[in-house]
């Protein structure tokens, strides 16, 4: 049953050095506040899993939190490169990072298989690509038609972290807008943390609302604007300017570190 705790406490309790951590949110509801707290707590050797590393993993990679990255699209959406991601892979800065990359369809089916407690997911995918030589994908043969299909191994992160609009006081969570793979991430993980914009007395069902019951969540932490520069549909707006500024901030190692020092390491935790 979810406990409602401080973000600092939740991260200390749930995220350990060396853990595999899936922080999801497809463009929307990216759990930046939790990522920053992990950076502040100096976690190391994480296996970071995320379909779209986005700025949150660019920051964590640049701070040396990870030994391994599992992903499917490592760009700054609509802007260009993720410079810290590139620097980590191209030059091993600040620490070497092993990568395992998939297609979006492959990653989505890996989460779905994890959520369903199946050992693998099934798709028509990866056909004729060089990805098959560099990643963990195999084939299975349909026992009815003889057709060969791609098989991807289930994801079972140690911890899943997602951000949502709201939780009630019993720890039930509701999110709406672009739902991404958050449900699958939480259900595939051994432990889970949900940061929320706000606590409410009662969840009022919303169009497009997805409910995660408190009994599949370990901890809830209130983190208003905790998705910034991503957003929480109906509550905050995506900070597209910041995504563009990040291209400049993150290009240079020192500028990046200075920004992180000022805005993350030395920042007052707001919640």
């Amino acid at each position: 049953m979810a406990e409602i705790v401080e973000l600092r406490e939740a991260v200390a309790e749930l995220v350990g050095d060396g853990d595999s951590v899936a922080m999801e949110g497809f463009t929307h509801l990216i759990p930046f506040a939790a990522g920053h707290e992990i950076v502040r707590q100096g976690r190391r050797d994480l296996e970071l899993i995320r379909m779209t590393p986005d700025l949150v993993y660019d920051q964590m990679l640049g701070m040396g939190c990870a030994r391994r990255l599992v992903f499917s699209y490592g760009g700054n959406p609509g802007v260009g490169s993720l410079h810290r991601f590139r620097d980590a892979i191209e030059h091993g800065w600040p620490v070497p990072v092993e990568i395992e990359e998939h297609s979006h369809a492959g990653m989505a089916n890996r989460y779905a298989a994890g959520a369903a407690h199946l050992p693998f997911g099934l798709l028509r995918g990866y056909a004729g690509t060089d990805l098959t030589k560099h990643t963990n994908v195999k084939t299975v043969t349909c026992p009815f038609t003889g057709e060969e299909l791609a098989a991807v191994p289930a994801l079972h992160p140690d911890v899943a972290i997602v951000h949502a609009q709201e939780a009630d006081r019993r720890g039930n969570v509701q999110l709406w807008g672009i739902p991404g793979v958050q449900k699958e991430a939480v259900l595939s993980a051994a432990r889970s943390l949900v940061t929320v914009e706000r606590l409410v007395d009662e969840l009022v069902p919303r169009p497009g609302g997805i409910v995660l019951p408190g009994w599949v969540i370990d901890a809830i932490a209130v983190a208003p604007r905790g998705a910034h520069p991503s957003y929480a549909h109906d509550l905050t707006d995506r900070d597209n300017d910041f995504y563009q500024q990040w291209d400049i901030i993150s290009r240079d190692r020192d500028d990046f570190r200075a920004w992180m020092d000022e805005h993350v390491l030395d920042a007052e935790v707001t919640a």
Binding site: F26, T27, H28, M51, T52, F71, S72, Y73, G74, G75, P77, G78, V79, S81, L82, F85, R86, I89, E90, E101, H102, S103, H104, A105, A108, N109, Y111, A112, L123, R124, G125, Y126, A127, G128, T129, D130, L131, H134, G177, I178, P179, G180, V181, K183, E184, G208, I210, Y231, H233, D237, R238, N240, Y243, Q244
Partner: protein
């Protein structure tokens, strides 16, 4: 319209025109998004725009920066989780057409968005596959939109990310399409106004075939150009 169209504007308008009559279009980030939104304004008001974030039937007023901007979800006919998007909508071929971009394209139309140089010691690490491999096999029709340059149109891909068989590759210089008489190799079928065949050949990393009936692209109309500029200015 006071000024004449830039090469990039011609490219976007040509791409948009190709969406006439298409029921639905899958959109990646960047240039292709602008073309698809423009298509709804100039040639295909009923075009269903599908973004891999899960928004189906989005009707953005402005060009979104990302494929998951809030306006896409707010204006969509419906929004689905990523697993459903790939398994129930893309994989079965329910989305008619896809617009893809790439860092490298070869003469077959296959795409590289993964790496420049060696995979294990990359010169430039690119974002990676995203949805493209399965979008390219799931959608009936694939269009590629890319800038025309030797480093993009290459003899040999550094990495084959997406095996695509595009119906057309729309560049800022012209349009390439598979030549059935050359085993489907991409050949130049259209050059944009003011562009020479030699200029296109110079910007292509392989010995580019030119279609026997090479045509010059119909120049953007004032209406097309003003619709595009208005959209970009929003």
């Amino acid at each position: 319209m006071s000024t004449s169209a830039t090469a990039g504007e011609v490219q976007t308008i040509v791409a948009a025109r190709l969406l006439a009559g298409a029921p639905s279009c899958f959109i990646g980030v960047g240039g292709p998004s602008t073309a698809a939104i423009l298509a709804r304004a100039i040639v295909n008001p009923d075009l269903v725009l599908v973004y891999e974030s899960g928004t189906i039937g989005a009707k953005p007023y402005r060009i979104p920066l990302s494929i998951g901007d809030g306006e896409l979800a707010a204006t969509a006919d419906f929004v689905v989780p990523v697993v459903e998007m790939f398994n129930y909508w893309i994989q079965p071929g329910r989305i008619d057409m896809a617009f893809l971009g790439a860092a490298q394209i070869d003469r077959e139309g296959s795409l590289n968005t993964t790496v420049i140089g060696d995979y294990d010691a990359p010169k430039t690490r690119l974002p990676g596959a995203g949805g493209a491999p399965e979008i390219a096999t799931g959608c009936d029709r694939v269009m590629v939109v890319a800038p025309h340059a030797k480093r993009t149109f290459v003899e040999r891909l550094d990495f084959l990310t997406t095996r695509a068989a595009p119906e057309a590759v729309i560049t800022d210089l012209g349009v390439l399409a598979p030549d059935p008489e050359a085993g489907g190799e991409l050949a130049l079928t259209h050059i944009h106004p003011g562009v020479t065949v030699d200029a296109v050949r110079d910007a292509t990393g392989w010995e580019l075939r030119v279609a026997a009936d090479l045509r010059t692209t119909e120049p953007p109309t004032d209406e097309e150009l003003s619709a595009l500029r208005e959209l970009v200015a929003r």
